[in-house]
Symmetry: C2
Subunit: 314 residues, 2 copies
């Protein structure tokens, strides 16, 4: 049985892609089941509730050699801790290729599109399979989430066409209204503890010399209510300090992305992060906040800049 | 302009896949040109001559940052020497995933099929593009070559269907006769120097601890005339010794694959290789030859066994 899962700190794409890919594989005769690597965020909770879909179960500890399929990620730092012992059979992803290796020829489908959901729709169409209503809703939600309804610079024509194709199947007439409801749910952070907020959409990236990389933890809070997040700045900085120590990181950043205004103001913990922000991005920092302007995509506008900055060849 | 190329010591698939993928990309609006990383083997020379197709030019030295597409390989040990400095945009391959990483999300298409040509046919069909006659001939030849006309255990149903689809377009009525002509051309080794013979279908694989792997050089001669190769055993063993020293290898093997009888007898250079053959495969060796029985696929039946044998977890 193939275990299908997305990255740690799952977002709507990681959950939807696992569910839909497992469902597609089953229809193609492959025994597969979807799992998740962490708690749902508020947006994903909203989506699953709207759709009446159960969350996939938490991934149990897998014995060495277990066959797995990764969706929406491929780097070991963002996956299950014993990934190196498992047998990766399939990956469907839209991120850069990290440290993944396989013992046998795998099935890999990577394209530089805005969302794994867009690739999963292609897999259905290439196999001449219809998309069930529930799966169409999941894929549509994932694409709206990952692209911030086409606001993110990661958006491609393929993502737009996928939404156009899926919306009628999903029975969602007003896509903008549905997207805003998703973003509102995501922004309703209530009294979530600061460390949980920081870790909700958080990924660790190795930078510099691959033989002895330095690891940075990059959190993002995408919200329609940035004022709420800035109201908790002191708490969040304290949480970042804790996580930096716990995870043995060289640096931590927390980007507060204002979805509607498409801006990014990033919390910086110490002089280390401040120096990198100023040197790598050439931006001003003030009171532990760096103004990153319209750089709202971690994948396309933050990570590649840091990668280049820390590169031993640079 | 995207530089498209297959592995060093190119075979018919490496050359055909580069030509056909570059041609497909151009039809899809991507500026692309095919190159090769070495001399043609006798089979590929035969195929190109039959088809009236010019060989792609040798890849020139590429400046850092040049955009490239890899076909039929992904590991740096089998690619252009400065691969790490280049920008890998696309890979179409049917081998295990090695040490490749990318700075940005790439386009990757890997499937565990017998030949890259089978995947390139899928890309045409998914894009609703016809396959030009010449490209059909190239893909057909590549599939017959890589699968030894379905004799290899790497053969899948997709490869068989691809040949069935391509043969009428290519205008090749007797596929078996065409395959035998290809294999005869491949087997007509004449007075080729022994080191050239050893390096003709030769790949280097890192085994063991990824931080300090030991490298093994694995050559294969697929032939309908094994007697000829065994007639040159002493010369070939001397050439293996030279290459082992030149390339700083831990071990070298040369598998003589009898295409028609589907057997593999492998030359072993020294006690090091003999020990590995006996322990990893449990086979008898006699007079510097290990009888590997029907294990005729390096990819599927030799490399995974060695990988497991040398694994630090084993």
């Amino acid at each position: 049985m193939l275990h299908v899962f997305g990255h740690t700190n799952p977002d709507t794409d990681a959950i939807s892609a696992a569910l839909v890919y497992a469902s597609l594989l089953r229809r193609q005769g492959v025994e597969a089941q979807a799992f998740r690597l962490g708690h749902l965020n508020f947006e994903t909770e909203f989506v699953l509730k709207e759709l009446g879909v159960e969350a996939p179960p938490m991934l149990p500890e897998l014995p060495a050699g277990t066959a797995v399929a990764l969706v929406d990620h491929n780097e070991s730092a963002q996956s299950v801790s014993n990934l190196a012992e498992l047998s990766v059979k399939r990956v469907v992803d839209h991120h850069k290729l990290g440290d993944l290796t396989t013992a046998n020829p795998p099935y890999l489908r990577f394209e530089p599109v805005g969302c794994t959901g867009t690739l999963l729709l292609k897999l259905h169409r290439e196999a001449n399979l219809d998309v069930p209503v529930q799966d169409a809703k999941l894929l549509l939600s994932a694409i709206l989430s990952d692209t911030l309804h086409f606001r993110s610079p990661t958006t491609t024509q393929d993502d737009r066409e996928a939404v156009e194709f899926l919306a009628p199947i999903a029975g969602i007439q007003d896509v903008e209204q549905y997207a805003l409801a998703m973003f509102a749910a995501k922004s309703d952070l209530g009294d979530t503890p600061a460390e949980t907020l920081f870790r909700m959409d958080y990924k660790v990236f190795p930078f510099g010399d691959p033989a002895k990389p330095q690891e940075w933890g990059l959190g993002v809070i995408e919200t329609t209510n940035p004022a709420y997040v800035f109201g908790r700045q002191a708490e969040l900085l304290a949480a970042m300090d804790t996580v930096k120590a716990e995870d043995g990181l060289s640096g931590v950043l927390l980007s507060v992305v204002d979805i509607l205004n498409e801006t990014n103001r990033t919390f910086i913990l110490s002089a280390t992060e401040e120096k990198v922000m100023q040197e790598a991005f050439g931006v001003r920092t003030q009171g532990q906040v760096a103004d990153l302007g319209h750089r709202i995509s971690r994948k396309k506008q933050i990570v590649p800049v840091l990668e280049k900055y820390f590169s031993p060849d640079a």
